[in-house]
């Protein structure tokens, strides 16, 4: 191809997306390709440990630490988990997280509503003290909790652990939900009062449905915080209420580390977090309040 024909063909080729030798892509497009490459590299770096764990979980037990790229995937590690105590621990985790989330919402949501809507003395201070409960390092609270629990008999119980998780989740609920409630115009509640609602009914029929996406996101955060807790679960449980993250450490033993089970259990523990994170993303972008008021 001569230079002349190449030049003549350039506009057409550019339009169909092919770039002849000397015609360079426009600057914005080059810029975007670079950006995508950087994002992809970052993604791979972040996902690598997870991917590595998942592939370990799928290897035959004898070859878990084998470096070979090609292997026959198997569910043997998961089956081995199913035989032992792990399903019980997983169930404990589900119970503790669900219970603590439900309790935190039941107490925290009305508290957040009152802190947003009612003007009373010391309102700001109350809100700050609720947040302050989250600031204390867990280790500072562990020994008092441990002693108190031994005394009241809540040690090594699902309810006891859920209660502890509730204490640190309430502050999350109160602070998250205050923002969501504040975004709902007061006049909607006032309209509901005039339409015949009492304060509680207006909250239940108007405010809460409008705050539902925020409520869902908050619930997921509470669940994940409780699900991920290792520290309190390690100190306050022994046998019957052990949660999944603590159970994994039981695979690190004197006789050797059971890498296959560790990887399989890690993969299972990660699944709900992954699922819920996707859920939160969906809820957070949805704006329900659009259109009720003149903008």
């Amino acid at each position: 191809m001569t230079d002349a024909t190449r030049a003549a063909a350039a506009p057409l080729l550019a339009r169909i997306g092919a770039w002849p030798g000397r015609v360079r892509p426009p600057r914005w497009r080059r810029h975007r390709i670079g950006l995508h490459a950087a994002a992809l590299a970052l993604l791979l770096a972040v996902l690598f440990p997870f991917g590595w764990m998942v592939q370990m979980a799928l290897r035959p037990p004898g070859e878990v630490l084998d470096g070979a790229l090609l292997f026959q995937p198997t569910l043997e590690n998961f089956a081995a988990l199913w035989q032992g105590h792990f399903p019980k621990s997983f169930l404990n985790s589900v119970l503790v997280s669900s219970l603590s989330t439900a309790a935190s919402l039941a107490l925290g949501v009305p508290a957040a509503y009152v802190l947003t809507r009612w003007r009373f003395r010391g309102r700001g201070r109350v809100a700050l003290w609720i947040l302050a409960t989250r600031m204390a390092p867990p280790i500072a609270l562990t020994i008092p909790f441990f002693l108190a629990y031994r005394w009241v008999g809540l040690q090594d119980s699902v309810v006891g652990l859920a209660l502890i998780h509730m204490t640190f989740n309430i502050s999350i609920v109160v602070w998250f939900m205050q923002t969501f409630f504040a975004a709902i115009p007061r006049s909607l509640e006032e309209a509901a009062w005039i339409d015949g609602c009492g304060v509680w009914q207006a909250f239940r029929r108007v405010t809460l449905p409008l705050a539902a996406p925020g409520l869902a996101a908050t619930a997921v955060f509470c669940f994940i915080f409780s699900w991920n807790d290792f520290f309190f679960a390690l100190i306050l449980t022994r046998t019957s209420a052990v949660t999944a993250p603590v159970a994994i450490t039981n695979f690190l033993q004197y006789e050797g580390w059971e890498w296959g089970k560790i990887a399989a259990a890690g993969t299972l523990v990660m699944l709900p977090v992954l699922a819920f994170t996707l859920l939160v993303r969906k809820y957070l972008v949805r704006g329900l309040t659009a259109g009720g008021l003149k903008d």
């Binding site: 909607l188 108007v206 009720g292």
Partner: protein, 356 residues
Amino acid sequence: MASVTIRDLRKSYGSTPVLHGVSIDIADGEFVALVGPSGCGKSTLLRMIAGLEEAGEGEIRIGGRLVNDVPPKDRDIAMVFQNYALYPHMTVARNLGFALTLKGVDRVEIAARVARAAEVLGLSALLDRRPGQLSGGQRQRVAMGRAIVRNPLLFLFDEPLSNLDAKLRVQMRAEIKALHQRLRTSAIYVTHDQIEAMTMADRIVVMRDGRVEQAGAPLDLYDRPANRFVAGFIGSPAMNFLSGRIAVNGGASFHLDGGGPSLPLAAVPPGAHGRPAVLGLRPEHALIDPEAEAALEVTVVEPTGSETQVVGQLAGQPFVGVFRERVAARPGDVLPLRLPPAAAHLFDAGDGQRLV
């Protein structure tokens, strides 16, 4: 339907008083407009009637019942909010029927009443939509519909048209008035737009700084304003105010402060000779008359087609005239004006109260 009686109502926020003893009587079926500049307390008063603000001192009675401590839900009132306050998560039909659902009205009955209200307001095709899918005017109609479906004792309107464009506002104004004439439910309508108040209300209550300045029929307020504030607030363009002195030498006349010819007066209070006063004259009452002695130095001429507005100076004081005829004056010209004594208002120079 019900009458509303408000007696010596007071309210303060902290140490700032917002209502200083307001008393208003609203007859059964009457349409009353509360007007006044921003911060005059008209919205606070409306919200107190609705039960959304605690009543301070004084009494609010709806249909003879003292409601000071009655929660909004038990007052049997309906309110149209400035921002409409439609429930975004409900369809138009559910928005309209929400109050009836709460009352436990039968579902078939609710559907019938919603359908009837929707038909009156032209919303029948929109019943399944959510507020987010409606235009401003349609949302306004839904807000109106939510009020009329209930058949309440009293309608409260809090500047319901202020978010609409000018054309739609005029249309909705007529619709609200027609609706009121059909339903004859007592209504209180808050607005800062005196044209809205004049065109819609049976009676207007003009408020300023938490006090009632004057209450009366629209044309009474226009013809005999009780003070300078009401005179300036009602009417557009606003009334002209010329300061000067009253002279009584045989006939009564008014001497403008900037000099110029003395203006004849129809009536003056006794012993008014030499008293400083303010003469008020509506722009539309000034007449162009080649024989007249008062001279308007023209600064701006604004023709609107149907009339001509001329802005200028009369004896060094600002003056606006509105004329039905076309005026060919230019800035700098002098226009001879006759100011009819019968149309003039006299106010005290100090407290602004009407003199005669």
